[in-house]
């Protein structure tokens, strides 16, 4: 297995175990750096990514459920995440409804409870913006310990600048 593939597996496992993004960045860099110098096979040097991630997370016996990736992803979703999903749905639905109601009000249709159209538009936009801000704030980016910049990471792997 090559280093990049191993690091990607390791990051997925650490994410599933709720390890904070800045700690994941440190582990990534530490592991890459070691492998770059030792020229060892990653599994040979660190063991299977899942086992190593659990040891690092201090949760050796941890099982985030299931054996397939989608199943394990679903099981790792925490209460906080459900709150964001449900709260976010309610927030965007209410925001968009108020916004549209306000816009149609400007076009001469009767508004909700007879409220002024501009008020509905403002409240609608605020709700949508609040949700966008909350989403950004709740992101936990993987941070490069050397540069302090976040590493863009998707299931396809890391994109270091």
């Amino acid at each position: 297995m090559n280093t990049a593939d191993y690091i990607n597996d390791l990051v997925i496992e650490l994410r599933l175990l709720d390890v904070p993004g800045n700690r994941i960045g440190q582990i990534m860099t530490e592991t890459e750096s070691h492998l770059a110098e030792s020229k060892e096979d990653p599994v040979e040097a660190f063991g299977p990514a899942r086992t190593y991630a659990r040891e690092l997370a201090g949760r050796e016996g941890a099982d985030v459920g299931g054996t397939t990736l989608p199943g394990r992803l679903a099981r790792s979703v925490r209460g906080r995440d459900w709150l964001i999903i449900i709260g976010g749905f309610a927030c965007t639905f209410a925001g968009a409804s108020l916004l549209f109601n306000g816009v149609f009000g400007l076009l001469g249709r009767s508004t909700w409870l007879g409220l002024p159209a501009w008020l509905l538009i403002v409240v609608g936009v605020v709700l949508l913006v609040l949700f966008a801000i909350a989403l950004r704030a709740l992101r936990d980016p993987i941070v490069d310990p050397v540069t302090g910049e976040s590493i863009s990471w998707t299931l396809k792997g890391a994109q270091r600048k």
């Binding site: 890459e32 750096s33 040979e44 040097a45 063991g47 040891e55 310990p145 050397v146």
Partner: protein, 112 residues
Amino acid sequence: MTSTPWPAAWLKGFLEAAVLAVVAQGETYGYEITGSLQAAGFGQVKGGTLYPILGRLEESGWVQSRWEAGDGGPGRKYYTLTATGQAELAERATTWHAFSHTISHLMKEHQR
């Protein structure tokens, strides 16, 4: 851990103290520590064994670290011993000395 004359359980039990002692020799980083341990007769210590130990030592406040950009490669994490780490190492060295003395005394007659 391979090719050393020592039983694996002993190496496992003393690895943490050995890592502490290696860091005490001066600022160093992960891969260099594996080299020092090998030179000290600990055999080849795997990264998967070493880094969790370094993590625990740092959590305990016995070592501290700083990051530095690597030449071309990813960054390196350098470790140094803290004052409490120094005290911990001294404590372990003293205890070990007393313990090894006790065991040596007990086994003295059976030595070949």
